[in-house]
Subunit: 405 residues, 2 copies
Amino acid sequence: MPVNLTTPVAAELLSVSGVSLGIAEAGIKRAGRKDVLVIKLEDGATVAGVFTTNRFCAAPVTVAKEHLAVGKGIRALVVNTGNANAGTGEQGLEAARRTCAELAKLLGCDAQQVLPYSTGVIMEPLPVDKIVAGLPQAVANLKTDNWFDAAHAIMTTDIVAKAVSKQVQIGGKTVTVTGISKGSGMIHPNMATMLGYIATDAAIDQPLLQQMVREAADKSFNCITVDGDTSTNDALMLIATGKSGARIGAAERAAMQAVVTEVATVLAQAIVRDGEGATKFMSIKVEGGKDEAECRKIGYAIAHSPLVKTAFFASDPNLGRILAAIGYAGVGDLDVAKLKLYLDDVLVAEHGGRAASYREEDGARVMQQSDITIRVELNRGTAHVTLWTCDFSYDYVKINASYRS
Amino acid sequence: MPVNLTTPVAAELLSVSGVSLGIAEAGIKRAGRKDVLVIKLEDGATVAGVFTTNRFCAAPVTVAKEHLAVGKGIRALVVNTGNANAGTGEQGLEAARRTCAELAKLLGCDAQQVLPYSTGVIMEPLPVDKIVAGLPQAVANLKTDNWFDAAHAIMTTDIVAKAVSKQVQIGGKTVTVTGISKGSGMIHPNMATMLGYIATDAAIDQPLLQQMVREAADKSFNCITVDGDTSTNDALMLIATGKSGARIGAAERAAMQAVVTEVATVLAQAIVRDGEGATKFMSIKVEGGKDEAECRKIGYAIAHSPLVKTAFFASDPNLGRILAAIGYAGVGDLDVAKLKLYLDDVLVAEHGGRAASYREEDGARVMQQSDITIRVELNRGTAHVTLWTCDFSYDYVKINASYRS
């Protein structure tokens, strides 16, 4: 069950002028499931994105990067669920290109102005005929107030849809930012995570937009993990339509970045809260490091440890497992006698061992919570990171032992 | 249940002249469980070892390394289960030193001639008084034909004891090698694994012995993983008593190394076969790499992926997950179009996607087996590695969610 996460309220999701969304049931997944989403952009929108670093990156990732590089101006994005179109070789690239071409025909633009995305099972041929047959239904459904349904259409093993809107005043104009994401397993983004789409009606030139999506990803999707598996299909896209009349330059950058990063963070955390089989949401803060890289190493060692994750599932303060993970994180000159480990506000370990003040009942009390902060104070510098992860339960095994059946 | 692994036959475990073993019930674990082992060596034995690289290494690891460095000649090793004496700070070091001192008194040697080892829960104070009180019982029990009981005395979550003997003719003399190991979870050795002790009656000078234990570890214990968690207490020790009269020099090295590595490999594989919750044993061969480091990266990415491990638990040939793991292993210039993936003798993927000849029923047939080989042919060099791991089941979660209770 999702941890402190509920379905977004449809009425709280704000339209972004210049963006319309349409969904379809193309029959890729079982009957009655929406599995195709088209996002149509008005002329003049800028689009930037970050993608998976997985060498087996999916065909749509390759094609989306190609089309972005062409620079003709993006007019539409198309997403299918139920099949990742990854590990599909040349045939997969052709299928992704054909999807773009067919949608371009319907919208009256060039195939290179369409970006494709897929998510689902790896190494199965994409049922491209079904997707193509579903495109007219999605185009007929295009409307600006369709973010709620769009968030549902991109779900795979997600239990809860992920969407959020924020508004900010910039240069006297109201700027809206609305985003959706999907993801629950195979989550350890190394660029972005499964799929995330954020749109704003601010006007942002493409080079700046690219910097902003990179920074937002680094502080949100690149700080989460469910199972340490980096997907073949990760993509986070940022769209700026300019329709609000607010133009973002150097002076407005900080305010705009803050709201984009905030939306990305809500969406990224939602993926962890809806992590496969999750019963607990853990924030892992590693502070006082020499650099951010070593803080990330230690944070991810804790976040990926099956022993730590199963102890949290059991609400068992078997916290020595966290020390072991810190120890094997690969920080060669780490002095373990200097660090402190906290569970929420409870000091657990210092001087290389259990803190004299630590009482098992204090650890047990915090472990009962559904939201828990693990904080490691390294005391060797000023760098810090915060990562988010979930626990490891019977249901994670159940979900992943039966995903295809 | 252990995968194709049965309890060793006591009569097949050969004594090693110059080594006697004694066990005790010291009450660290629940009543009726042997939890202390003393290994006594006759004067003149050489001892070498490799230890965990975990920065939170346990107090006994620190003390064992100190005592080995003193170079007075090791006369005894002492092992307790039920408590790892890791994450225990100064108090833990004192407890380990006191254990050595007390055993030295009983045996009439120096404390620095005793090496301590611990395994069990992390960050709990070592019940050193109980261990000290149990030492006379262990010393009274010392005998050369006690390897079977010794293998049982060092078990923690292990279901099956791990022990093996081999003999080899060297220079006209019969040389015996007998080893024991323990381990089932927190297994991703980065030096050695949990605890392994191998003894031979060959005569081997300490510097050569150190080279030999390193090489054996690199080809055995350093090629296994259960859950990717590198323990705080890993140690693999190699003891040479010289009692057979066979002296190992440059000419005899290869033959001796082969049998030591063979014994180490049997013991290491036994740990994976008895991995927590294991139902399948997987050999992962990565071949045709530019260097061994990249082969290991790819092999461990597969071996650690919870998605791959749960698919094997389910006997589900959802083999795209293996491609995804290869892709995120961190080999930046990997050309995925060049590699081939095999499951036993079945070609699964080539040219960046599913092989044209691949049939789901062939994958499903192999997935039903309890011993399975995953082979990745990278086609970019001559380096290769073989790693061993197990699947990820409900029982892994169950065991680790209830380990302390």
